[in-house]
């Protein structure tokens, strides 16, 4: 019987860490080869070639319109963009529902809808801001993402939505271009957007996905915590960001309760815990006025103790959950 890819990875890990000997690994290799089987390769290549091919063609269309070829009439360009969109949606219609080809084709439609929108903006010079393009793109691709039920399409949707908010905040009269990330309201807006998506996913939107994976939840959680952690650390020095520090601690507490008690998700829990350690270490640096040998060591030991303790606890939870 073949070893699965996960088992081969574990055999290597155990041997490299000295828990199995080289002889034991050789004996395992005599039972079956220590490499992915034919079916593993075909399954992986099927997805990567399908999604990768569509992504490259979608990118090619965007690059082509960005070249702004003067000799090509604007109607020809728009016709070409519409043809690409029609090809991808047509391919999805003839592909077996929810298979790799179907999802890859609709992922292509998500990319092509952005190219079409950019081309219209480029051709007719509407004067719209960049954030409107991204927001419009996110809105246009929503039906395709919903139909595809694919993590890749929804991940692209989330990234484009974040790009729209970031561009809107950087262009707004309240938040000058370079000062955007130093304003509490803008950081909270980015975190709030991702929190809303995370809540929707937890409330059942994730059931729309073909594969019951939690990649999207974790992507949204990163979108919540990264701006909050950055703002919370600076918040100990800059009173203007004190609200972000408070928001971070509330979010970390809520995440700990939800992802420990209600819906066990260790990577999100780890993000909240290690973020808390980083923000609290910053608080000690400010409050203890770290200048002396004792104070510096105190903060260093606090970080070691907290991160070590968190590591022990999370490792135990990881073993208990049986996840890999």
């Amino acid at each position: 019987m073949q070893w699965t890819s996960t088992q081969v990875a574990q055999l290597f890990e155990l041997t490299e860490s000295g828990q199995l000997t080289g002889q034991q690994l050789d004996a395992a290799a005599r039972i079956a080869p220590l490499e992915p089987g034919r079916r593993d390769w075909v399954t992986a290549l099927d997805r990567i070639l399908g999604f990768g091919g569509v992504l490259l063609i979608g990118a090619a269309v965007i690059f082509f319109f960005a070249y702004n070829w003067d000799e090509l009439h604007r109607l020809t360009k728009i016709g070409f963009a519409l043809a690409v969109l029609a090809t991808t949606t047509g391919a999805a219609m003839i592909a077996p529902p929810f298979g790799v080809a179907y999802r890859a084709a609709l992922f292509g439609a998500c990319v092509a809808s952005g190219a079409l929108l950019a081309l219209i903006g480029q051709t007719y010079q509407t004067g719209a801001d960049m954030w409107m393009l991204f927001a419009g793109w996110a809105a246009l691709m929503t039906p395709f993402a919903a139909l595809s039920r694919s993590s890749a399409s929804w991940a692209l949707w989330l990234i484009v939505l974040n790009a729209a908010v970031l561009r809107a905040l950087s262009q707004s009269v309240w938040f000058p271009v370079f000062g955007m990330l130093s304003h509490a309201a803008s950081l909270l807006a980015v975190a709030g957007l991702n929190l809303a998506v995370l809540v929707l996913l937890e409330c059942g939107l994730a059931r729309m996905l073909i594969t019951p994976a939690r990649h999207l939840h974790r992507l949204a959680a990163i979108g919540v915590f990264v701006p909050l952690i950055g703002g919370a650390i600076v918040g100990w020095w800059d009173r203007g960001l004190a609200g972000v520090t408070l928001a971070f601690y509330c979010a970390a507490l809520a995440a700990t309760l939800v992802y420990l008690r209600l819906r066990r998700d260790l990577p999100i829990l780890a993000l909240a815990l290690y973020g808390t350690i980083a923000v609290t270490a910053a608080a000690f640096v400010v409050k203890v006025q770290v200048e002396s040998f004792v104070a510096l060591n105190l903060v260093g030991l606090l970080v070691i103790a907290a991160s070590g303790g968190a590591g022990v606890w999370l490792s135990r939870l990881h073993r208990e959950s049986g996840a890999q």
Binding site: V61, G300, I304, G311, V312
Partner: protein, 359 residues
Amino acid sequence: MNPTPPAPLFALLTRLRAEKLISLETLEGVATRASPPWWLATLQALAAWLASLFLLSAFYVPVLLIGDSAVARGLGGLVLAAVALHLFQRDGVFVGQVALAFSLAAQALMTSALAGDFSRLETDHRMIAAVGASVALGMMIPRSTPIHRTACALVALVFGVIASFDAEWLAIQASIVCTLSVCLWLTRNRWAGKRHGAHLKAVANAASVLALPAAWLLPNLGGTWFAAHPAATDLSGVSPGAPYHVFTVVIGVLLLATVFRLTRALPLQARVLALASAVALAVMARFAPGLVFAASLFLAAFHACHRPWASLALAAAILYLGEYYYSLQATLLLKAGALAACGLLLLALRQWLPRQDRT
């Protein structure tokens, strides 16, 4: 009572026991020492790095007060290193975390003692980097945790690149790091069971960490550096685009070699098709060597059953694609044509996959 290992690991251990490959004692021992998942190991390493900065500062300040001598710094570093190595002899996530932070701080102190003050970094950077690499390699050898060995290998590689940095050799250095990472993952089944398997794993991780930004930076900065330093070009006689071209060729050959190795068991016709596709991809994507390298790293890491690196290679490919837009090596029209050709090639290859195994 021993803690229960994660379900997939438990299934493996049960099978190994059924195949009489491991004893009951080994099974119980492995069950109690299951490694943390990659995301937890990464967060722990970041926390240890932060802690080591505080510890380093804590030791450096009194050393400065007592007298800023190399001997004092060296002694401080040796004490921390000895404590770290002692702690590594014991099992446990917490102890490993403490030891990692102590080791990183010790390496900085010892490097500072042996190579001089870091304030002379600009003038004596080669000396400092060479010493730093040696210290990191020295700390990597004794028994320690996988995170620590990877951190040491990464420090040694980065310092090694700095120590031997020369604009003329930039492409060669990047090529070596990229080739090293792909070759190590391709041959994992050969070295995993060897005496230095743990060290080679650390080098493979470190080389991959370094290779991903190298494949992004070199096409942009390599040529730019030469363009900004014409004197170097005059002295060496190489053209501004030379590093870029060298790197592109090496990365293309690397993809071909990877496919050549992985398709050994395929029928001749399928193998020729795979190799021809690799050549076509390397030629068409020559203006985006990062994409070609990401393909090689994905194939090698997938062959090594290392899912995190296979996933990271794919994520990097998307970033390389974004960066390719701003690349000045070709016009947008040419880049669009190359991307469309690559995309069509991938879709054509997908059609060639056996239908019964596709989803």
